[in-house]
Amino acid sequence: MAVPTGTLHLAAAIDGDGRYQAPYYVELARLAEEGTLDFITLDDTFGPPGPGRGRLDALAVLARVAPATGRIGLVPTVTTTHTEPFHVSSAVATLDWVSRGRAGWRVEVSATEAEARLVGRRPAAPAGELWAEAGEVADVVARLWDSWEDDAEIRDTATGRFIDRDKLHYVDFEGAHFSVRGPAIVPRPPQGHPVVAVAATDPVTWQTAARHADVVYLRATSPEEAGRIRDELKRRAVAHGREPGSLTVLAALAVDLADGEGAPGTAPAVNAPVTPADTPGGPPLYRGGPAGLAELITGWHTADAVDGFHITPVAPRHDLERFVNGTVAPLQHRGLFRTCYPGATLRDHLGLSRPASRYALEREAAR
């Protein structure tokens, strides 16, 4: 059996359809933070999540959550198909500012004709084309984050200059669907680059994920399958000139902890199986007790199949509470998972370094 190569990372979705008030989300975020999870995610779609259903803008919700929490990473889904890349860049950078370095975003596309009709600008397109565009958006967004060097604001009273304009840069990005001149309006965010996540649950997303993502969630029902996909993603990342360690690979898992152990005489379900998703594209399901889930996580991690897990509690309030108290606690007890946050930013939690601005590096190199 292989030895795990790194620290275990845990993240949780706090989705809650039909929840339109902040206290629900704040409560779940604080619970996840008590469990010292790396980050929480909040799903989103450009259109309604389904006929007759509603949801709030995910980035808005997590901006509302930011001042009510202290350490936990905040990763909303932000779609790229019908939105403006410049606005996306500004909003995610601003989430990083208001959370003091805890922002990420999950890149997602909008493939349906119904969503296209909400904008009326262009028809729906195939997923491959949309993911290629999503990659372009991730690219230009990162360039915009780099377009202000970290020390561009100088406040030099002697010359009357607030900024050093030589440390601001045009990105001059030309994509297949859009172009952006730059520079950003928002100064470089605290993390340099907020964390980019992709739910790589479908091979159509793999190329974009391997090239642009810091965190991916994959879909697998066994450690062997997860390990194969992780290797493929890392191989592609290396082909794009990236360090394999710069990609954190999590297994996506829906968890239903409603039943299972807890009753006297019930043995924990060691290495409980996960069942394939019954919804297309959805994560596979673990159903059982929280201690059994701790065993499963330990098993996959020990097999070095993944760097951690992104769990989606089926009943967020109940399952997340059981996860934190019944799954995370034993993992901490075994020394597999941290008991406190060693740093302040999401990059710190993930062990990712803070990237330097590419324009600053170019300028240095040109000297």
Binding site: Y20, Q21, A22, P48, P49, G52, G54, R55, L56, D57, L59, A60, V61, A63, R64, V65, A66, P67, A68, H82, T83, E84, P85, F86, H87, S90, A91, A93, T94, L95, W97, V98, R100, A114, E115, R117, L118, V119, G120, R121, E153, R155, T157, G160, R161, F162, I163, D164, R165, L168, H177, F178, S179, V180, R181, G182, P183, A184, I185, V186
Partner: protein, 433 residues
Amino acid sequence: MSRQHKQIHLAAHFPGVNNTTVWTDPRSRSQIDFDSFEHLARTAERGLFDFFFLAEGLRLREHNGRIHDLDVVGRPESITVLNALAAVTERLGLAATVNATFNEPYELARRLASLDHLSGGRAAWNVVTSSDAFTGENFRRGGFLDRADRYTRAAEFVATARELWDSWTPDGTPRPFAHTGRHFTIDGEFGVPRSPQGHPVVIQAGDSDEGREFAASAADIIFTRHGSLEAGRTFYADVKRRLARYGRAPEELKIMPGVTLVLGDTAADAQEKAAEIRLQQVSPQTALLTLEQIWGVDLSGYDPDGPLPDIDPDPDSQLTQGRVRHGDPLAVAAKWRALSEEKGLSIRQTVIEANGRQSFIGTPEAVAAQMAEFVATDAADGFILVPHLTPGGLDDFVGRVVPLLQERGVFRTAYTGTTLRDHLGLPYPGERG
């Protein structure tokens, strides 16, 4: 008990990217850290203000082909900051300036409705437009609209957003919408249920004839600038008169000029401080740059402490980008020359004299009296205060002037409602049939 006085509405503007903000002052803090926004918002809420107001930037200003570097540059994205401020305030309205030219109605209506939900009914949208291909270079469409189309698009944009906001029934069921118009042809289901205010409050900025008409038809607040009591009264009467055309009552549109203020312990002290602040705002470099923005030519060889240039402006100049050139440059230059000659002013002194905004300068008592007079005599319904310091620029106003307004009975002593519509006394929009 004396009769009820007309009440003053107050809002706080977080200083933006122009030379109003004195960043050279040692008390000046970050224009981007959340602490700064929190400080000003909490101050405004302590002062029982109606709302907190954020401007927007979509392209950095340029002058002579280079990024402008003299003033505060860079700011966060408005709606995201306001969602975060909703966590650290309870009653304060939260107003975001968002451009109708470089957004789409579905997405923006969704973001504003989300802010209204997350803040418990405190969202407002300041609708602005752009005619500027320079800004368009950052966006998918890339292009721009001519002046007339800006307002037809903005009007259709607001109307479409209202259709979306109205598309959920109060019992929480979405009804399909379909909008067919000149600028937008869209249909589907809106993704956010009806928000606490029904429609976030709509603010319109601008003094032009089209702007006034648009405000009279569609806005809840008009954010304006006018220099004197008389000009204020004329504007007020004109805009309020237009409301009847749209079946609206005069009190359904609040008129709120943006104003600066300087407080002192005596009148002379306040005047002295105001003069110092103007010198800080208009540095020698800023004076020359302001002149170049009007003249449209390089004036770097001129002495800011010397006389105005004797050459004429270039009316077709593209020297300045990302900033509106107000009025005919030749006429403005002639006016400034006359001002300079009449009073014997240098370039810098002329800029200070000509560009002074509506200000309340004086002791707290005097400022409270002036504000009360403006509102009592129908020159305004209230004010959007633009502090010159970030983020402490309203500390003194809230500590020293608000209590005096309360003593006069012209300002609330407690919030009486929870939503921005409550604070403004605005009706809640009804359901569509």
